[in-house]
Protein backbone atom coordinates (compact mmCIF):
# COMPACT_ATOMS: atom_id res chain seq x y z
CA UNK A 1 0.00 0.00 0.00
CA UNK A 2 0.91 3.66 -0.42
CA UNK A 3 -0.22 6.13 2.27
CA UNK A 4 -2.06 8.24 -0.35
CA UNK A 5 -3.52 6.16 -3.11
CA UNK A 6 -6.30 5.57 -5.58
CA UNK A 7 -6.99 1.87 -5.99
CA UNK A 8 -9.27 -0.36 -7.99
CA UNK A 9 -9.47 -3.27 -5.58
CA UNK A 10 -11.59 -3.41 -2.39
CA UNK A 11 -10.25 -1.25 0.44
CA UNK A 12 -9.00 -3.01 3.56
CA UNK A 13 -9.38 -0.23 6.15
CA UNK A 14 -7.35 -1.91 8.89
CA UNK A 15 -4.26 -1.69 6.73
CA UNK A 16 -4.41 2.11 6.85
CA UNK A 17 -5.09 2.21 10.59
CA UNK A 18 -2.07 -0.04 11.12
CA UNK A 19 0.05 2.24 8.96
CA UNK A 20 -0.59 5.35 11.08
CA UNK A 21 -0.20 3.62 14.46
CA UNK A 22 3.06 4.18 16.34
CA UNK A 23 4.29 4.11 19.95
CA UNK A 24 3.44 7.78 20.49
CA UNK A 25 -0.12 7.51 19.20
CA UNK A 26 -2.86 7.56 21.83
CA UNK A 27 -5.74 7.90 19.38
CA UNK A 28 -6.56 6.64 15.90
CA UNK A 29 -9.63 7.73 13.95
CA UNK A 30 -10.63 5.69 10.93
CA UNK A 31 -13.30 7.05 8.63
CA UNK A 32 -14.86 4.93 5.92
CA UNK A 33 -17.31 6.27 3.38
CA UNK A 34 -19.69 3.61 2.07
CA UNK A 35 -22.10 3.29 -0.82
CA UNK A 36 -25.58 3.53 0.65
CA UNK A 37 -28.72 2.12 -0.83
CA UNK A 38 -31.03 5.11 -0.76
CA UNK A 39 -30.30 8.75 -1.60
CA UNK A 40 -33.09 11.31 -1.86
CA UNK A 41 -35.62 8.49 -2.04
CA UNK A 42 -33.93 6.95 -5.06
CA UNK A 43 -32.50 3.45 -4.85
CA UNK A 44 -28.88 3.21 -5.93
CA UNK A 45 -27.96 0.06 -7.84
CA UNK A 46 -24.25 0.83 -7.89
CA UNK A 47 -21.80 3.71 -8.20
CA UNK A 48 -19.06 4.16 -10.76
CA UNK A 49 -16.06 6.18 -9.58
CA UNK A 50 -13.52 7.64 -11.94
CA UNK A 51 -10.35 9.57 -11.12
CA UNK A 52 -7.53 11.50 -12.70
CA UNK A 53 -5.30 9.09 -10.84
CA UNK A 54 -1.86 10.76 -10.73
CA UNK A 55 -3.31 14.15 -9.84
CA UNK A 56 -5.73 12.62 -7.31
CA UNK A 57 -2.89 10.84 -5.49
CA UNK A 58 -0.89 14.06 -5.50
CA UNK A 59 -3.85 16.00 -4.05
CA UNK A 60 -4.42 13.35 -1.38
CA UNK A 61 -0.77 13.69 -0.34
CA UNK A 62 -1.15 17.47 -0.27
CA UNK A 63 -4.15 17.14 2.02
CA UNK A 64 -2.02 14.94 4.28
CA UNK A 65 0.67 17.64 4.35
CA UNK A 66 -1.95 20.29 5.18
CA UNK A 67 -3.12 18.14 8.09
CA UNK A 68 0.39 17.68 9.43
CA UNK A 69 0.90 21.45 9.28
CA UNK A 70 -2.37 22.23 11.05
CA UNK A 71 -2.17 19.44 13.64
CA UNK A 72 1.51 18.79 14.31
CA UNK A 73 2.27 15.18 15.11
CA UNK A 74 -0.63 13.60 13.27
CA UNK A 75 0.15 10.74 10.90
CA UNK A 76 -2.22 10.23 7.96
CA UNK A 77 -3.16 7.70 5.29
CA UNK A 78 -5.94 8.11 2.74
CA UNK A 79 -7.18 5.81 -0.01
CA UNK A 80 -9.98 6.20 -2.51
CA UNK A 81 -11.36 3.39 -4.60
CA UNK A 82 -12.46 3.74 -8.20
CA UNK A 83 -14.48 1.49 -10.50
CA UNK A 84 -17.85 -0.12 -9.83
CA UNK A 85 -18.88 -0.04 -6.18
CA UNK A 86 -21.93 -1.75 -4.75
CA UNK A 87 -24.01 -1.18 -1.61
CA UNK A 88 -21.86 -0.96 1.55
CA UNK A 89 -18.57 -1.05 -0.37
CA UNK A 90 -15.95 1.37 0.96
CA UNK A 91 -15.29 4.28 -1.41
CA UNK A 92 -12.83 6.15 0.80
CA UNK A 93 -10.82 5.49 3.96
CA UNK A 94 -9.08 8.12 6.09
CA UNK A 95 -6.81 7.02 8.95
CA UNK A 96 -5.34 9.56 11.36
CA UNK A 97 -3.26 8.98 14.48
CA UNK A 98 -2.26 11.55 17.06
CA UNK A 99 -1.05 11.61 20.62
CA UNK A 100 -4.39 12.99 21.83
CA UNK A 101 -7.88 12.38 20.52
CA UNK A 102 -9.00 15.90 19.61
CA UNK A 103 -6.53 16.29 16.76
CA UNK A 104 -7.40 12.83 15.43
CA UNK A 105 -11.09 13.71 15.14
CA UNK A 106 -10.59 17.22 13.76
CA UNK A 107 -7.93 16.30 11.23
CA UNK A 108 -9.95 13.34 9.96
CA UNK A 109 -13.05 15.44 9.34
CA UNK A 110 -10.91 18.09 7.66
CA UNK A 111 -9.60 15.44 5.28
CA UNK A 112 -12.98 14.35 3.98
CA UNK A 113 -14.07 17.98 3.49
CA UNK A 114 -10.93 18.70 1.48
CA UNK A 115 -11.28 15.51 -0.57
CA UNK A 116 -14.72 16.67 -1.66
CA UNK A 117 -13.30 20.04 -2.65
CA UNK A 118 -10.06 19.41 -4.49
CA UNK A 119 -9.42 15.79 -5.38
CA UNK A 120 -10.24 14.97 -9.03
CA UNK A 121 -12.54 12.00 -8.45
CA UNK A 122 -16.06 11.72 -9.82
CA UNK A 123 -19.01 9.58 -8.92
CA UNK A 124 -21.79 8.41 -11.18
CA UNK A 125 -24.95 7.10 -9.56
CA UNK A 126 -26.64 4.28 -11.41
CA UNK A 127 -30.28 3.69 -10.50
CA UNK A 128 -32.76 1.17 -11.85
CA UNK A 129 -34.05 3.71 -14.35
CA UNK A 130 -31.16 6.04 -15.06
CA UNK A 131 -27.77 7.42 -14.14
CA UNK A 132 -26.09 10.74 -13.38
CA UNK A 133 -22.64 12.15 -12.78
CA UNK A 134 -22.60 13.94 -9.45
CA UNK A 135 -20.53 16.89 -8.42
CA UNK A 136 -22.23 19.85 -10.06
CA UNK A 137 -23.17 21.39 -6.70
CA UNK A 138 -24.41 24.52 -8.42
CA UNK A 139 -26.94 22.52 -10.35
CA UNK A 140 -27.94 20.02 -7.69
CA UNK A 141 -27.63 21.82 -4.35
CA UNK A 142 -29.57 19.23 -2.37
CA UNK A 143 -27.23 16.49 -3.55
CA UNK A 144 -24.19 18.50 -2.65
CA UNK A 145 -25.45 18.92 0.88
CA UNK A 146 -26.37 15.36 1.41
CA UNK A 147 -23.51 13.41 -0.04
CA UNK A 148 -21.77 11.45 2.71
Amino acid sequence: MKPFEVIESPINPQQYADYVLHAGAGAVTLFTGHVREWTHGVRTVYLAYEAYVPMAEKKLAEIGAEMEAKWPGVKVAIAHRIGELHISDIAVVIAVSSSHRKAAYEANEYAIERIKEVVPIWKKEIWEDGEEWLGAQKKYPSKGEESI
Binding site: Y49, M55, V92, W122, K123, W133
Partner: protein, 77 residues
Protein backbone atom coordinates in the same frame (compact mmCIF):
# COMPACT_ATOMS: atom_id res chain seq x y z
CA UNK B 1 1.49 19.67 -29.05
CA UNK B 2 -0.75 19.90 -25.97
CA UNK B 3 -2.34 16.83 -24.49
CA UNK B 4 -5.81 17.17 -22.91
CA UNK B 5 -7.69 14.67 -20.72
CA UNK B 6 -11.44 14.32 -20.25
CA UNK B 7 -13.18 12.75 -17.27
CA UNK B 8 -16.66 11.82 -16.14
CA UNK B 9 -19.43 13.74 -17.93
CA UNK B 10 -16.90 15.43 -20.21
CA UNK B 11 -15.36 12.11 -21.25
CA UNK B 12 -18.79 10.88 -22.26
CA UNK B 13 -19.58 14.16 -24.04
CA UNK B 14 -16.28 14.22 -25.97
CA UNK B 15 -16.51 10.52 -26.67
CA UNK B 16 -12.86 10.10 -25.72
CA UNK B 17 -10.61 10.23 -22.70
CA UNK B 18 -7.71 12.02 -24.27
CA UNK B 19 -6.61 13.90 -27.36
CA UNK B 20 -3.80 16.20 -28.52
CA UNK B 21 -3.98 19.73 -29.91
CA UNK B 22 -1.41 20.84 -32.42
CA UNK B 23 -0.65 24.10 -30.68
CA UNK B 24 2.54 25.60 -29.31
CA UNK B 25 0.99 27.82 -26.64
CA UNK B 26 -2.45 28.89 -25.54
CA UNK B 27 -3.96 30.27 -22.36
CA UNK B 28 -6.24 28.25 -20.13
CA UNK B 29 -9.08 30.55 -21.18
CA UNK B 30 -8.36 29.81 -24.84
CA UNK B 31 -8.37 26.09 -24.16
CA UNK B 32 -11.75 26.33 -22.45
CA UNK B 33 -13.15 28.42 -25.30
CA UNK B 34 -11.88 25.87 -27.80
CA UNK B 35 -13.52 23.03 -25.85
CA UNK B 36 -16.86 24.82 -25.58
CA UNK B 37 -16.88 25.40 -29.32
CA UNK B 38 -15.78 21.89 -30.19
CA UNK B 39 -18.15 20.10 -27.77
CA UNK B 40 -21.43 21.97 -27.42
CA UNK B 41 -22.71 21.73 -23.86
CA UNK B 42 -19.22 21.52 -22.42
CA UNK B 43 -20.16 24.03 -19.71
CA UNK B 44 -16.81 25.75 -19.35
CA UNK B 45 -17.99 28.07 -16.57
CA UNK B 46 -18.09 25.18 -14.10
CA UNK B 47 -14.89 23.51 -15.23
CA UNK B 48 -11.38 23.96 -13.93
CA UNK B 49 -8.27 23.16 -15.93
CA UNK B 50 -5.29 21.32 -14.53
CA UNK B 51 -1.91 21.82 -16.17
CA UNK B 52 0.67 19.19 -15.32
CA UNK B 53 -1.55 17.93 -12.47
CA UNK B 54 -2.02 21.32 -10.82
CA UNK B 55 -5.04 23.62 -10.93
CA UNK B 56 -4.35 26.55 -13.26
CA UNK B 57 -5.70 30.10 -13.55
CA UNK B 58 -7.49 31.38 -16.65
CA UNK B 59 -4.51 33.56 -17.62
CA UNK B 60 -1.92 30.82 -17.24
CA UNK B 61 -0.12 29.91 -20.43
CA UNK B 62 -0.04 26.30 -21.57
CA UNK B 63 3.10 25.23 -23.46
CA UNK B 64 3.62 22.50 -25.98
CA UNK B 65 4.37 19.29 -24.08
CA UNK B 66 2.11 20.18 -21.15
CA UNK B 67 -0.43 17.67 -19.90
CA UNK B 68 -3.82 19.30 -19.36
CA UNK B 69 -7.06 18.01 -17.89
CA UNK B 70 -10.59 19.38 -17.70
CA UNK B 71 -11.83 19.01 -14.14
CA UNK B 72 -15.60 19.19 -13.78
CA UNK B 73 -16.92 19.63 -10.23
CA UNK B 74 -15.50 16.77 -8.19
CA UNK B 75 -17.63 14.30 -6.25
CA UNK B 76 -15.28 11.94 -4.47
CA UNK B 77 -15.82 10.65 -0.95
Amino acid sequence: MIRVNYFARLRELAGKGQETLERDTMTVQELLDWAEETYPGFGKDDIQVAVNEEYALLDDVIQSGDECAFIPPVSGG
